[in-house]
Structure formats: structure tokens, C-alpha cells
């Protein structure tokens, strides 16, 4: 790349000065060069209003043409939960032995949807918005973060629906519900980090977006979204004993179980993996910081034709 600032050896041109020297003398900088990491963070912070406005705009634009309008924000997650209940609860009887199965299932589906759609939209955050990237200046990380924020707003609608479901099925209101807030913050950080990683990969190789739904579906089924991973240890044949703990330590399962623990009183702390908050924070930091740096490293290449 030609992002080098140091001056090439002088050549015999019409004036004794090379363009690079002229640029250096007047303090011009290389156009489109990647800013330093602290500078990048500062720029991103300066664009925070754009990030939130873009997320809200995307969210409201989503159902702008529907007759029922924003009602779909709540209807879509509810219908989703109903379909999963029909298949896993009624047809497959996964609910056997899981107390409060419907709250258990719905929490799982909503929390999982938050992560999976964040990652899915993150994958297309750059490649699907090339027009924006090629027209305007802003730290590109604003895009994946904004899409994650949109998913978070979407989740808050779902959570409102979830509260109604919880109360309807007689789950008592408890102080532990407040734990949902730190859990969501950690999950959001994790999602944003993974989105940024996927955004960079997807910008380089758009084909990844075709692959992601399959990866995510596999991830969903092993994360205990509609069934309890605990059941694996009880009765399953031949599965080595390390399988369940490993599955429970995967970030999706951690965040889902944390939320179940916070909201459903029949979901006990004993069902959580050991040191669950440490694991949840670790995943969030690892993905969040790592993803951000990984994304920033390719900042100047986004938008290349």
C-alpha cells in the first residue's frame, strides 16, 4: 500500500521538490490513511449520535410499509416463539422435565435471536452498505456497531413481550430481574465484537454471508436454546462427560442461561456453569476488544471495489 509518509528520494523534476516533500512542508496528510487506535476511538465516539440515529432509523424503516406498522416489533418475536413452542414443546416434547418451559423457551429464543441477527447483519455491515462507505467519511466500525444497536433495540421490544409472558405464566417478579441489565450489556459487547470480525471477513469475501445462516443454525442447536443442556448429562448415551460443560461455556449458552437465571425463578444457580459472570465478562472482553482491533486494522481497505 502507498500509505507511506516518508519522502522518496528526490528526483530531477521541474522543481527541486517532490510532491511528497511539498505535502510534508504544508502539513498535508495522506488521504484515506488509517487513524491511530486512540484517534479512531475518539472519532467513533464523536459519531455516537449517528450510530444511534442510524440504528433507530433502520428499525423504524423495517416496518414502515406494513399496515400494522410498529406493532410488528412485538408480533414478530411472539410469533417466532409460538412456532418454536409448537414444534419443540408440543410435537417433540422437549419440554419434559423442564419447569416453566414456555418462559424457558421464549427467553432462549429471544436472547439467541439477538446474538444471531447481530452477527448476521454484522456480516453484511460493510459489504451491504458499500454505497454509504464509498460516499461518506466516518469510522467504519460505526456500521457494525449500529446494526448491533438496532438488534438491541429490537430485543428490548421482545423483552417487553417476554415480561408479559413471564407474568402470564406466573413467574414471580424478583429482584434478580435486574441482573438482566448487566447480562445484556455483556451480550451486546460480545455481539458487537463478533459482528466487527464478521464485517471485516464479509467485506473481503462476501460469500461468507451465504455461509453464516448454516453456521448460526448449528450454533443455535448446540446452545440449548429450546432444550436444556443439563438433559445431556443425565440420560444421553455415550456422550463423553466433557461435552455438556463445554457446550455450557459457549458464549451463546452462557448469555442465554444468565438471562434465564435472572428472570425465571425455577432456573437455579446450580444450572449455571461455574464462574458464570467471569466467563460472560471474559467472552465479552475477548470479542469486544479483539473484534474492534481486528476491524480497525483493515479500516482503510473497506469500500475497495
Amino acid at each position: 500500500m502507498s500509505q507511506v509518509l516518508d519522502t522518496p528520494p528526490p528526483t530531477a523534476t521541474e522543481s527541486a521538490e517532490t510532491p511528497a516533500q511539498l505535502a510534508a512542508r504544508y502539513g498535508l496528510s495522506v488521504s484515506g490513511a488509517r487513524p491511530s487506535l486512540p484517534e479512531y476511538v475518539r472519532q467513533l465516539w464523536a459519531r455516537r449520535h449517528f450510530i444511534s440515529a442510524f440504528a433507530t432509523a433502520k428499525l423504524t424503516a423495517q416496518y414502515a410499509q406494513a399496515k400494522l406498522g410498529q406493532v410488528w416489533q412485538v408480533m414478530t418475536p411472539l410469533l417466532n416463539a409460538a412456532v418454536y413452542y409448537f414444534i419443540f414443546g408440543v410435537l417433540l416434547h422437549t419440554k419434559k422435565g423442564v419447569p416453566d418451559y414456555i418462559p424457558f423457551l421464549v427467553t432462549g429464543v429471544f436472547i439467541w435471536t439477538f446474538t444471531s441477527s447481530s452477527i448476521l447483519t454484522g456480516t453484511r455491515a460493510i459489504s451491504g452498505n458499500l454505497g454509504l462507505v464509498r460516499a461518506l467519511h466516518f469510522p467504519r466500525a460505526a456500521l457494525p456497531i449500529s446494526f448491533c444497536l438496532q438488534q438491541l433495540q429490537q430485543l428490548l421490544f421482545s423483552m417487553a413481550a417476554l415480561l408479559v409472558i413471564l407474568l402470564f405464566f406466573g413467574v414471580p417478579v424478583a429482584a434478580s430481574w435486574l441482573l438482566a441489565i448487566p447480562a445484556l450489556i455483556l451480550q451486546f459487547t460480545f455481539n458487537a465484537g463478533v459482528s466487527m470480525i464478521m464485517a471485516r471477513l464479509g467485506a473481503k469475501t462476501p460469500d461468507i454471508a451465504q455461509l453464516m445462516p448454516f453456521v448460526l443454525r448449528t450454533w443455535m442447536y448446540i446452545s440449548g436454546v429450546m432444550w436444556s443442556i443439563d438433559k445431556l448429562t443425565d440420560q444421553q448415551s455415550g456422550l463423553p462427560s466433557w461435552v455438556a460443560p463445554v457446550l455450557k461455556a459457549n458464549p451463546a449458552a452462557v448469555y442465554i442461561d444468565l438471562m434465564r437465571f435472572a428472570l425465571i425463578d425455577s432456573f437455579h444457580a446450580s444450572q449455571l456453569p461455574p464462574h458464570v459472570w467471569v466467563v460472560a465478562t471474559g467472552w465479552a472482553l475477548l470479542a469486544g476488544v479483539g473484534g474492534f482491533i481486528y476491524f480497525w486494522k483493515a479500516e482503510e481497505t473497506y469500500g475497495r471495489g
Binding site: 505535502a23 498535508l28 495522506v30 432509523a57 414502515a64
Partner: protein, 290 residues
């Protein structure tokens, strides 16, 4: 046309031997496309050619220096690399070789990509302003100005309707108004003048002139020789990605018009005066060198 030597001629944009190459996937130019694609993903750069990636060399070895207070027109036939060069100056497209140095952050005049048709005009004013890096307060301050300038509300309260309901002219006017609301150091305009009806065009030309006074340097890409003549005193002529001529607008436009009229007749290998890239007057008489 005489260059005002009174000011210090501070360079704001320096292009130094710039090459820009697009890579296009999936043109089917390689052998069997699926294996070629796999090949491409696995081997990255080495097998680029064999794997069916077409390289489009859009801008070839372009060098020029733009100074503060200049308005520069970019002319050339379609597909000659004008817009590409602008995007590279804006830092939105990476260069293959060479370098572009700029003073501050040049910005393209245009926010189309950030706007959403499903949102009301009002929300789009905010969204577009934020996307250009304005603060909420700044937008609030200028909101009325933007709406008045666009003339969207002349025929009723349209600003509270979704943008997709606008006629194409109305949409274009609002987009221009939003984009022109911000002052820029180096402003890059890509054929934005040709939108709207006559009265709006007059207003926007006036606004461009204002922007020019605030901005250090203005680049204008246009196919309208008249608007280049009106706004620019210097012109760059790009043809097939090569900078053919660089000089005072009149001279360059004259040669260009001769070329375009000539090329309507079939096959003319060279225009009448095959001028090599002209010595840039600015660089030749650079006062402060050595």
C-alpha cells in the same frame, strides 16, 4: 484567468502518480467459474488473473496539485475515471500506486446513501446531517434553512411525509440541500448541479459559490461545460484514466470540445493537437521552492 499570485498558493490536494485499479469478481472471464472462485479464495493474490478477477485500471498515473481558493473542473467522456479520482481524493477508494495528500478531510458532496426512503424528510435531514458528521445542535440550527432551501414545503407540508413519496426532483433537491448544509475544507462535487428545475438550479449554483468561498478548494465533475465555465477557473481533462490536460478552463474546454466533436466521427486515432500533459502553471512558478 491569471493566477492570483498575491496569496501564498497553499496546496490543499496533491496527487502524486496516482493509479487506481478496480477488481471485479465474477465476471466469468476466468475458466470455469466455481473452481476459479475457489482458487481465488484460497490463493488470493497470486492467481488473481487466472481466477477470473478482472482488473479495471480506472486512473493511470495522474499527478496534479490543487491550491487553496481554486475551483477545479474535472471533464472527460463517460467512464474516463473522473468520479473514481474524486473518490480517491476523498480517501474513499484506496490507490494502487502513488499517493494523494490532502489538507484536512475532503468530502464528497452527497448523502444519498445515508438516507432512507421509508423515513420522513425531516428524519432524513437529521440522519443525513449526522452521517456527514454534524452535531445534533448544528442540524437543529440549520434545519429550517435546509428545508427552505430545498423548497420541499413550498407546495404543502411534504417534509413530514416519507421520502419515497417524493417525486424524483423533490428527492434530489432535498438531498442536495442536506449535502450542501455543511461547510467543507475541500469539497468534491459530482454532477450535483444538474438536478431540479431552473429556479432550484440557480439557487444551488449560488450555494456552490458560497460553499466555494468557505471551502479551501472545490472539485466539480460535470458534463455540462457551461457549469464548469461558470464555476471553475482551472480544468483537468481525464480521458481513459489518463490526465490529458491541465490548465485554465477556457483552453482545456476548447481542446475538449474539439475532441468530443471530432470523436463523433468514426475512428480518429489522435485529436488534432495531441497535447501532452501540460506543465501545470502552478508548479512551474511555485514561488517558495528551495
Amino acid at each position: 484567468m491569471a493566477n492570483p499570485n498575491s496569496d501564498q498558493r497553499i496546496p490543499t490536494v496533491i496527487c502524486d502518480g496516482v493509479d487506481i485499479v478496480y477488481r471485479v469478481n465474477g465476471t466469468g472471464a476466468g475458466r470455469g467459474s466455481a473452481t476459479a472462485a475457489l482458487n481465488r479464495m484460497l490463493r488470493r493474490k497470486t492467481a488473481e488473473k487466472a481466477a477470473g478477477v478482472r482488473r479495471v485500471h480506472a486512473v493511470k498515473n495522474v499527478s496534479f496539485t490543487a491550491y487553496k481558493g481554486e475551483a477545479i473542473g474535472l471533464i472527460g467522456t463517460n467512464g474516463s475515471g473522473k468520479s473514481t479520482l474524486l473518490k480517491a481524493v476523498a480517501g474513499l477508494l484506496p490507490v494502487e500506486n502513488g499517493a494523494i495528500y490532502t489538507d484536512g478531510q475532503p468530502s464528497l458532496l452527497g448523502v444519498n446513501a445515508a438516507l432512507m426512503g421509508d423515513l420522513t424528510g425531516e428524519k432524513n435531514v437529521y440522519l443525513g446531517g449526522l452521517a456527514m458528521g454534524m452535531s445534533r445542535e448544528e442540524i437543529k440550527e440549520r434545519y429550517q434553512e435546509i428545508v427552505d432551501f430545498s423548497g420541499i414545503n413550498d407546495k404543502g407540508d411534504f417534509i413530514t411525509l416519507p421520502m419515497r413519496t417524493y417525486s424524483s426532483g423533490m428527492g434530489a433537491r432535498l438531498r442536495f440541500s442536506i449535502a450542501a448544509a455543511k461547510d467543507h475544507d475541500v469539497l468534491l462535487i459530482d454532477e450535483a448541479l444538474a438536478t431540479g428545475d431552473a429556479s432550484f438550479r440557480k439557487r444551488s449554483e449560488k450555494r456552490i459559490r458560497e460553499l466555494r468561498q468557505h471551502a479551501g478548494t472545490v472539485f466539480l465533475v460535470s458534463h455540462s461545460n457551461a457549469s464548469i465555465r461558470d464555476t471553475c477557473e482551472r480544468a483537468l481533462w481525464l480521458e481513459r484514466g489518463v490526465l490529458r490536460m491541465d490548465g485554465p478552463t477556457e483552453e482545456v474546454l476548447e481542446a475538449y470540445e474539439e475532441f468530443t466533436e471530432g470523436s463523433s466521427k468514426p475512428k480518429r486515432p489522435n485529436p488534432k493537437k495531441p497535447k501532452p500533459q501540460k506543465q501545470e502553471p502552478a508548479a512551474a512558478e511555485a514561488p517558495l521552492s528551495s
